[in-house]
Each structure stands twice: as structure tokens, then as C-alpha cells.
């Protein structure tokens, strides 16, 4: 378990995900190495009480686990409730700001594609086992914290074809094209009362692959980022980033 300073502005490639095979290992590994290198200076500079900081860091980890667990179960409305007022989410080249927009992201976009289910990394895209699982940095005033957490999830989009096959698949809760996506959650949290809320969450993508659980192979795929903002795209972001 490590409590460290977060990386600020790390990753020159944040807007240009490398979709090549094994890129997940290389890039995530490099980022995490940088974080670990800075960890040792964290406490001495801030003077944060170690026990309190650990408690807050654990609370942030729990918050993130809860976020992933709710996404995994498709509890999208409950996910929306985990964000602070005026929070931001960056996903797939789009910025969603404020509760209304965040609800649009999760309760429309994510829900329609059953996005967020935790799945194992695609074959050939596994993260470096040597890298830290997560990194949390609690601010000196213990009112904010930042974190980095690797993620590996299913992403989907409803099939748009109007065939009977697609309509029937929809009726049994499917009719969705699914793929795998892995990367890092860059999270900024804020303490609201005694509990933590998410103030900013960025999906920092590393790789996407045409993988679904059960397959023995995967290849990198290129999924277009958001190209329109809301309302031109009814489930789109407020801003392209």
C-alpha cells in the first residue's frame, strides 16, 4: 500500500491512446514507476499524520472500489450519487461536467452499452504484474486526495441496425457490441462532511481490444472518440477534450 504524491499532468499521450498490443504493459508500467519514485518524499513534506492519512487513503480506495463495484453491477444511478457537486468525468475524449451531464454519461451512455462491467485484461494486453495496484495521495489538509487505479472493463455500444435479430437481442438485454478497455482511472476526491466524493475522474485509456470473456485471442481496435457534444449527441459530453 503506498500513499504518494499524485502525478500531475503525467502522460504526454493522454489524448492519444496507443491501441497497439502490449502497449498497456509498457505505458502503465512507465507511469507507475514514476509515481513510486516520488513516494518517499510525500509525508515528510506535508507533515500529514500518518495514521489519519492512511485512514483517508483507505477511504478513497474504498470509494473507488465501490465505484467499480456499482458499475460492475450496472447500478448507474448509484454511481452518479458518488460524485461531488460540479464534478467532472473525462471519458473517450469527452468532458462531462455537473450532475446532469454525469447522469447522462452513466445512465444513458454507459447503461445503453452495459459499460463498466469488470473483466479481465484482454489476452496480450495484461498489465505489468510488477506495477503497484493503486496509488493514493492525500492532501495536507486532508480535504482532497488524488488517486490512480488501473481499470479493466467491458465497454459497449448498442447495435444501431434495425433488423429483427438486433431487436430481439435487445429484448433479452443484449444487442450490444462489446469490447475491452484498459487504462488508469485518474481520480480527484473531495471530503464532504465525513465522507469522500469524486470531484474529477478521468479514464486515461491505454488500450482497447476486441475481447469478450471466453475468447482466447484479442486484437487492438480503434473506437472513435466522441465527435459531437450534447445535445447534438443526445448522450454526448459537454465538451470535447
Amino acid at each position: 500500500m503506498s500513499i504518494t504524491k499524485s502525478l500531475s499532468g503525467s502522460g504526454d499521450n493522454r489524448k492519444q491512446p496507443n491501441t497497439g498490443r502490449r502497449s498497456f504493459i509498457w505505458k502503465a508500467g512507465a507511469a507507475m514507476s514514476a509515481v513510486v519514485a516520488s513516494a518517499a518524499t510525500g509525508f515528510s513534506k506535508t507533515g500529514v499524520d500518518r495514521a489519519d492519512a492512511l485512514k483517508d487513503a483507505n477511504a478513497v480506495r474504498t470509494l473507488h472500489r465501490t465505484y467499480e463495484s456499482r458499475l460492475n453491477k450496472g447500478m448507474y444511478e448509484e454511481v452518479v450519487g458518488m460524485f461531488a457537486n460540479n464534478a467532472e468525468v473525462v471519458f473517450n475524449g469527452g468532458l462531462f461536467k455537473g450532475e446532469k451531464s454525469i447522469r447522462r454519461l452513466y445512465c444513458e451512455f454507459f447503461q445503453a452499452g452495459q459499460t463498466g462491467k469488470k473483466i479481465e485484461p484482454a489476452p496480450g494486453f495484461e498489465p505489468d504484474p510488477e506495477q503497484p495496484q493503486d496509488i493514493v495521495d492525500v492532501a495536507a489538509d486532508r480535504k482532497t486526495a488524488t488517486g490512480q487505479f488501473p481499470y479493466s472493463m467491458q465497454v459497449g455500444t448498442p447495435m444501431t441496425e434495425d433488423t429483427s435479430l438486433v431487436k430481439m437481442a435487445r429484448l433479452q438485454g443484449e444487442g450490444i457490441v462489446k469490447w475491452w478497455e484498459g487504462g488508469t482511472h485518474e481520480v480527484t476526491c473531495v471530503k464532504v462532511g465525513e465522507s469522500w466524493k469524486i470531484r474529477r475522474l478521468e479514464y486515461r485509456l491505454v488500450s482497447k481490444a476486441d475481447y469478450r470473456p471466453g475468447r482466447t485471442h484479442a486484437r487492438a481496435i480503434d473506437i472513435p472518440a466522441f465527435s459531437k457534444v450534447y445535445p447534438a449527441d443526445p448522450a454526448g459530453p459537454d465538451k470535447l477534450v
Partner: protein, 605 residues
């Protein structure tokens, strides 16, 4: 007993019976169901307290073999007529509750004291659709459609603990096919090729050998006995329920609902049958289907409403267009093979042609004439390049230029299609030409049926090709065939889209949608035709009649388990001749050909 239907169910206009009309007719059920074979007195003089999980507690006292009293959840006793039948250790009884539109059908296993209860009711007033998983515009279910809710439970025995294991849903019947003949003389072929649906052919009630699909449930009693139901949703709404023993291939059951003549049917039956085959089911080996495939709720994560089932109701959201409306749309847009040639990999992975066979250039530079029998069309062709051809009718002087796509469906067997330019109604042809013998079959398709404009009509034309290199026979032709009947193939059009085709009768087929773990789920069916081109090579053509009106025109090559072909459809957005192709897996077959063919109406097989 029956006046057989000569209008297929999917074309029949069933009366929208009102709640009041249904109530009046149901008064007759107060006396209980009849049975040609006679009812059982197995329960006479007995009392049962049935406790169900998440359902009612039912206290029954059986006065004799026709009368019972029931207390639901400790309420006042209700008197009702009932009927009972036994099958081995199973006692099945059925009754309605007088003055209401609901009743119970109860299966009691005397060996285990386990019970499965089917509560049934009419006039649900239930709204479906309205967005979410349940589809577009809201609609209200027909009052005549029998609703059902299944409860699993047990007979409470003083001093005996409640059993931990109850009857449950199963996938072990999935893929099985059975022929049944009831004591009423009614014969059916039933294909249980899904865990939530079934496909059946009425051999007595219908004059056509057409298969239809309906929502169904499957409950496992033990290794050799199961309970099955089907509700003919979007047709008569009638309900059939039975328990079957696979060792003896016998059944006892009940039929409840209103038939196509709006007559109330409420009778119990015995039947004898035969297992006609078994398809493979493809879910993981450690998945026994014990947890039923959940029906969708209106909103995610909500508990489905009582009686909710997964039913395909395509007509509810279909906008019918006139012939002229479709033709005006076709004038604006008639698309052939557009949008897929340069599609992105993700588009292809979602499409109906992601696994298609390659196009062939084997026709480039060739010229020939196809001449179809009995005064059929005669077209002359010149193939300019891989995607463009010129054609004209024999009597015409001007050539027309059209885009086409061609496959080599088997060795030197070419299969190509194009739009018939400026045709009204808009038409297309898909033509197989056997370059080794000069035989040709054309699937001639055009927009519009006697029912509505945005549904296609198709027919097969048989003939010969003439030209350099051809020496076609004078009498021999490609022919309609039943060689595929009873067989099932999964067809993977792309990595995201697979369905199973069951060639259910000589004139119909069904398609089944797989779930995420490859359990077979929703089904629907349509009429179709089959033509034999060569051994193992066929044309299969179906139109999703009274559904979305779209046509699939495929060459199936069973030697390579692949198909390739075309789709043809039209609507407000214009007319489209598209591409379809899939990798197949042979899932199995049913030995059913003996049941089909011309026969005396209403006499069964």
C-alpha cells in the same frame, strides 16, 4: 373437432375480445375442464396445503374428482370445479376461480411432495413497450392473451421439514424435438430449441406445414420428466401446458384460451409422442439453466412485473406503408450494396456480412442469357468488371448498367444479385448459375405483398443459361427440396451477431437469438423456400412476414458450413439490396420429414 385454419397464424386477424366478452365465456369454466380420456379421482377426498416460494399459500380440499375448495393465503374458501390427471407419480390438476378470470394449474410430485404452480389469468391490461428494453411505443397486451406466473413450492407435511431443493427451470430440454398426438386427435411437432421459447407445427389445426414460435417455460421435474408451456402470443393468445415423461413419451396437460374462432378451449388431455431429435446446446457444460433467463423489466435492475415474459411482438411497432409510399421512397433511394464496402472494422463486426464469403471476378468478361421456364423472364448479361454488369430483357434493345456482387458459392457455381433498374414495384434478382451444367435458379423479389407495401414478395424461377460454354439440359432443373428440413445451423454473420436457423418444415424456418453464454433465447419464424442446386448446396430464401418484411436470400453450402447472399427490404427510407453472409455450425437435426406433405385437411400426419 376442429375447422382447420387455412390462413397462417401470422396473417390471421384475431378478434380483440374484450374483458367483458372473455368474462362471459369463462363462466363455463366454473365446472372445471373436460377430458376425452376421463379425469382422475386421485385427489378425491384429500386435502393439500401448498406452500410456494415468493407466491401464494394454497389450501385445497378435494370433495370429489370434480369439485374442490381453495383458500388462497388463508382467505375465504372458494368452491370451483376442477380436473385432474396423473402421469406416473405426477398429479396435475387445473381449475379456474369462478367469477374471476384467473385460475391455477398445479403439478404435484407425490414422490417428493414438490409442487410447481402455474397461475394463469386473462385481461391483464398490461402495458409493454414505452422505451427501455421493452421497445418503442407503448401498447397494451390483448385481453385474450393468457398470462402466467410460475411458483415453485411443496406440499406441507406435518412434522416434515420444508425441502431445500424445489423444481426449477432447466436447459436440459433445450434442443429436443417431439411429435405429440393428443387424445383429442390433435397432432403437433414441437421443437424446444430455446430455454424461453418453442417452435411448433400444427399438423391438425393448420392446413399449411408452417412452424410458429411462442414464449415458453421449461421446468425440470427429474431426469425423465419436465413441465412445458407455451402461450401463442401475438396469435390466439391460447395457452398449452403439460408434464411429459420422456421414458414413456407420454404427456398430460391442459389447453386454455380462445381459438381462432373465438371459442373458449378449456380441456385436459393425455398424449403420446416421440422424441424426433436433439440439437446440441452450446452454453457452458456447467450451466444447467437452473436460473431462468430473466425477462426484461421496463427499467434496468427492476424486478420484472408479475407474468413478465420475453415475447417478440414485431407487428406492434411496425409502420405499414402502401405500395405507392414504398415506391416513392424507392425513387428517392434505391441502394445496392452500399455502405459496407468501406465500412470500418467495428462496423463490419456488427454487420450481417462481417463473415461473408469473398466476391468473385469469375464472371468478368463473360456474356450469357438466362432463360426461365413457363414464359418466365429472359435476361441477357454482359459482365463488365467485378462489380458492374449490363443486362437487358431479350426483347429490349437498350442495355442497362447495374452494380452487382457475385460469389463463387461452390466450385464454378456463381451466385450474383442486382437491382432491376426502374422497376415498379422495385425488384431485385439473385441468380445462381451453375457454370458446369448451365442450370440456373433466380430468386425474383419485389416490394409489396397483398398485405402491405414494405414487405417483399419472392419466388423461385427455374431455367437454363445459354451462351458460350453452356450446354444446359432440356428437362432437368434445379428443384425445391426438403433436404434441409429438420436441420439447424448457427450462423455467425459477424463476431457480434449469431443466430440459429432451424429449418422447421418444408415451408418455414425459425431463428433463435443466442444469449451472452450461448444459451438459446428469443425466437421468431417465417415462411421460406429451399432449392437444391447441388448435393450439399442450396438456396434458402425467407421473408420476415408480418414482422419487418425483410428478405434473406442465401446460398448455403453445407460442405464448407458457410452461406453467402443478399438481403432485400424497403421502407420509408427507400429500398435496399444488401449483403449477408455467415459462418455456420451444424447444430443437429430432427427426423421429421415423415410428418409433412399433402394430407386430408384436419387429419394430422
Amino acid at each position: 373437432m376442429y375447422q382447420p385454419m387455412n390462413i397462417p397464424m401470422h396473417r390471421f386477424k384475431y378478434t380483440k375480445l374484450t374483458k367483458e366478452q372473455i368474462g362471459q365465456e369463462l363462466a363455463a369454466t366454473a365446472a372445471g375442464p373436460k377430458c376425452v380420456s376421463g379425469l382422475s379421482d386421485a385427489l378425491a377426498g384429500k386435502s393439500l396445503k401448498i406452500v410456494t416460494k415468493d407466491g401464494p399459500v394454497l389450501n385445497y380440499s378435494f370433495k370429489d374428482k370434480n369439485n374442490l375448495t381453495l383458500s388462497e393465503n388463508g382467505g375465504a374458501a372458494i368452491e370451483a370445479g376442477y380436473g385432474a390427471l396423473t402421469l406416473k407419480q405426477m398429479v396435475f390438476f387445473s381449475h379456474m376461480i369462478p367469477g374471476t378470470q384467473k385460475g391455477y394449474n398445479v403439478f404435484v410430485d407425490l414422490d417428493t411432495d414438490l409442487v410447481t404452480v402455474f397461475e394463469v389469468w386473462f385481461s391483464s391490461g398490461k402495458q409493454e413497450g414505452g422505451g427501455g428494453f421493452l421497445g418503442g411505443e407503448p401498447y397494451t397486451l390483448d385481453d385474450r392473451e393468457v398470462q402466467r406466473q410460475i411458483y415453485y413450492g411443496y406440499v406441507e407435511v406435518p412434522g416434515k421439514e420444508a425441502p431445500e431443493q424445489l423444481h426449477h427451470a432447466t436447459n436440459r430440454i433445450e434442443g429436443k424435438g417431439m411429435y405429440w398426438k393428443q387424445d383429442t386427435g390433435i397432432e403437433t411437432l414441437e421443437y424446444y430449441a430455446s430455454v424461453i421459447s418453442s417452435n411448433w407445427v400444427e399438423l391438425t389445426r393448420q392446413n399449411d406445414d408452417l412452424a410458429f414460435c411462442s414464449p415458453s417455460d421449461y421446468v425440470l421435474v427429474n431426469d425423465n420428466m419436465f413441465i412445458y408451456d407455451r402461450t401463442e402470443c401475438e396469435f390466439a393468445g391460447i395457452f398449452t401446458l403439460f408434464v411429459a415423461d420422456l421414458f414413456t413419451e407420454t404427456q398430460v396437460g391442459v389447453r386454455l384460451g380462445f381459438n381462432h374462432l373465438d371459442e373458449l378451449e378449456y380441456y385436459m388431455f393425455r398424449g403420446e409422442g416421440k422424441v424426433v431429435g436433439q440439437l446440441a446446446y452450446l452454453e457452458p457444460f456447467d450451466d444447467h439453466g437452473i436460473t431462468p433467463m430473466g425477462a426484461q423489466s421496463k427499467t434496468p435492475n427492476a424486478i420484472p412485473e408479475k407474468g413478465q415474459r420475453t415475447a417478440y411482438r414485431p407487428v406492434r411497432s411496425f409502420r405499414h406503408l402502401t405500395d405507392e409510399e414504398v415506391h416513392q421512397a424507392a425513387i428517392k433511394t434505391t441502394n445496392a450494396f452500399g455502405g459496407r464496402g468501406d465500412a470500418s472494422p467495428m462496423d463490419m463486426s456488427m454487420s450481417m456480412a462481417g463473415n461473408n464469403m469473398p466476391f468473385t471476378d469469375m464472371l468478368v468478361g463473360r456474356e450469357f442469357t438466362v432463360r426461365y421456364d413457363n414464359g418466365g423472364p429472359v435476361w441477357q448479361y454482359k459482365f463488365m468488371d467485378k462489380f458492374m454488369l449490363k443486362y437487358k430483357e431479350e426483347k429490349e434493345t437498350e442495355w442497362r448498367e447495374a452494380t452487382y456482387r457475385a460469389y463463387e458459392g461452390d466450385e464454378k457455381l456463381v451466385w450474383f444479385a442486382h437491382i432491376l433498374l426502374d422497376s415498379k414495384p422495385r425488384a431485385s434478382v439473385a441468380i445462381a448459375v451453375d457454370l458446369l451444367n448451365g442450370l440456373t435458379t433466380c430468386i425474383y423479389s419485389h416490394m409489396g405483398t397483398p398485405y402491405y407495401g414494405n414487405e417483399t414478395t419472392y419466388r423461385a424461377l427455374f431455367g437454363v443459361a445459354e451462351g458460350e460454354g453452356f450446354a444446359a439440359p432440356r428437362y432437368m432443373r434445379h428443384e425445391f427440396t426438403d433436404e434441409l428440413v429438420g436441420h439447424a445451423f448457427s450462423w455467425s454473420y459477424s463476431d457480434s451477431m449469431t443466430s440459429m436457423h432451424l429449418y422447421s418444415s418444408p415451408h418455414s424456418m425459425s431463428w433463435t437469438i443466442f444469449t451472452g453464454n450461448q444459451t438459446m433465447g428469443m425466437q421468431w419464424g417465417s415462411p421460406c423456400l429451399y432449392v437444391k442446386l447441388r448435393d450439399g448446396v442450396y438456396i434458402f430464401c425467407q421473408n420476415e412476414e408480418a414482422c419487418n418484411g425483410a428478405e434473406m436470400i442465401e446460398l448455403i453450402n453445407t460442405k464448407i458450413s458457410h452461406d453467402c447472399g443478399f438481403s432485400y427490404s424497403g421502407g420509408a427510407g427507400g429500398v435496399n439490396l444488401g449483403l449477408v453472409g455467415a459462418i455456420g455450425r451444424h447444430i443437429g437435426s430432427f427426423d421429421v420429414k415423415e410428418y409433412f406433405g399433402p394430407r386430408v385437411a384436419g387429419k394430422g400426419a
